[in-house]
């Protein structure tokens, strides 16, 4: 039996232009919704699969504002059994702070008799993209860690993890307890069913406060990358544009002879 803890982060669901808040410290999310990274959706899917197959539980955790309950409920609707909300202003938390706060929860739960043999996270958060929380967490808990993992199988007392490396699929065999950062691509996250949504409403969510003050993320301000004005040259409309396109391809020298 393996209990799995999976960590997700509420982030603005921007697909068009990014807008900044007046103080330039955050992305202005007033006109967009919120989501979690696809990496984390895959981590949630793996967590529920592994918990199910081993007869353990899958707990979903986030550090964020009270609205993050929305993202916890989405994970509860696709198979997680309970949630933890570390109530905090995520923008004030750097990756070290987030990792420490998660580690504190893991230790507190262990003291209460709940051991997480496997902690899954996304490979990188969709907003800050620090590429660090899983590794910082592993050091805080003194556990082995692998990142960039697309699939994961329990294998006796350990876990076998697969990542896409420069020379093919790399296989890591880890003893448990371990920390694994998941990348999109190995599993398809399921959609919530109606009974799943009903269950999610009633699933227990524990709210905790972080035990210590954050060191901070080092953010001085956000800015928008320089944007060049559109210089698009329209080569034509419909199939009639084909000769102009081929002229361009030849001019660019990308047509193999």
């Amino acid at each position: 039996m393996v209990n799995v803890l999976v960590c997700i982060k509420r982030v603005p669901d921007v697909s068009g232009e990014v807008l900044l808040t007046e103080d330039e410290m955050s992305v202005d999310a007033r006109h967009v919704g919120f989501t979690v990274s696809p990496h984390e959706e895959c981590a949630v899917e793996l967590a529920t699969q592994l918990a199910q197959s081993s007869g353990g539980t899958a707990t979903v955790l986030t550090l964020g504002p009270s609205e993050s309950i929305e993202q916890l409920r989405s994970a509860l609707a696709v198979g997680c059994s309970d949630g933890v909300l570390i109530h905090a202003e995520a923008d004030r938390y750097g990756p070290v702070d987030v990792a420490r706060a998660i580690a504190d929860v893991v230790r507190a739960r262990a003291d209460a008799g709940i051991d997480y043999g496997l902690i899954l996270l996304g490979n990188d958060a969709a907003d800050t993209g620090d590429f660090q929380v899983p590794i910082r967490l592993a050091y805080a808990l003194d556990r082995p860690v692998v990142t960039g993992i697309s699939t994961l199988e329990l294998d006796g007392a350990g876990v076998s993890a697969r990542a896409d490396g420069p020379d093919g699929a790399e296989i890591f065999d880890l003893p448990l307890p371990a920390v694994v950062a998941v990348m999109e691509g190995g599993v398809s996250p399921r959609y919530p069913s109606i009974p799943g949504r009903m269950k999610a409403k009633k699933a227990p969510v524990e709210t905790v406060s972080p035990a210590r003050e954050p060191r901070g993320s080092g953010r001085a301000r956000l800015k928008l990358p320089p944007r060049r004005p559109s210089t698009v040259e329209v080569l034509g409309t419909g199939p009639d544009a084909a000769p102009a396109v081929v002229d361009l391809l030849l001019e660019l020298g990308v047509v193999p002879s």
Binding site: V14, G16, Q132, E170, G218, P225, V246
Partner: protein, 329 residues
Amino acid sequence: MILVLVETDATGAIEVSRETLTFARELGQRAGAPVQAVCIGALPDGARTGLLTQLGAQGISLVYRPDDERLNDYAAAAWAAALLDVAETTAASALLAAGTPRGNEVLAHAAARLDVAMAANVVRVDAPAPFVVTRQVVGGAAWEEMQLPDRVAVLSVAGHACDAQAAPAPVEAEIVACTPKITDHDLVARVARVEGSVAGDAGALTSARVVVGAGRGAGGPDGFADLLELTQLLGGALGVSRVVTSLGWRPHAEQVGQTGSRIAPDLYVACGISGAIQHWAGCQSAKTILAVNTDADAPMVTKAHYAVIGDLHEVVPAINAELRRRLGR
């Protein structure tokens, strides 16, 4: 001292590592610090020769090679331990690597061991002492100015933040072997074996000179024949949007974007792709972008260099026919 962790393939340093060397040199000039390289893991003869030539051309005279067979297979913690040994002997004030999966992973281990901050995907150093950097966040759609106040600055350099450039005065580069302190603990998470990729070959996508992109506009799993023919005529690779992979039309290995591959081909032909910021994150380094889209106002069209407004199922076959005609096939 500024140390750069260099990743290699069969021929020498990979392109983004060469970019990072140039980035480090420019930083070194401003900070008055020399730049040296570190290369960990297996290094076949061809790669060794290539690496030394490339380093010499970049004006970098020393590359440290932690000498321990146990480092041949990738193990991030052990590689970080080896990197930190070199950092200690050289009294390094900054550790750099390219913002690749391995670059970010090894640096994150190093930063955790040093208990210092790390900045991922830096595009610019604003001030070298104390360190202030500008880095990509939200997949590069926004930038963050970040302070790195610690005694050692750890930063990965975003791919294609600068071009790899030769130094005005080339030097002769040599290898310095060193003996790293690695424990069994550092080797727990290591590559146990490598299997041929089953899901497809993302490597072909990231190294292709031409990428033909396809999005929701392809219409369904059967909508790719013409796009694949164009890919083949141009000797390129197919890249797709996340809509295409999450609907199961094509494998994830072909996905371009924030949670897929980052490409930098000479030409990207983006067909039926709207150009969401997360897709743009993966294709913005293409030298030339040609968009094919029914919507003249789609962001992919307005950001592209060239565009054809129309249905890809009519435009792409016409391009293929014209190409075949001119090539006499």
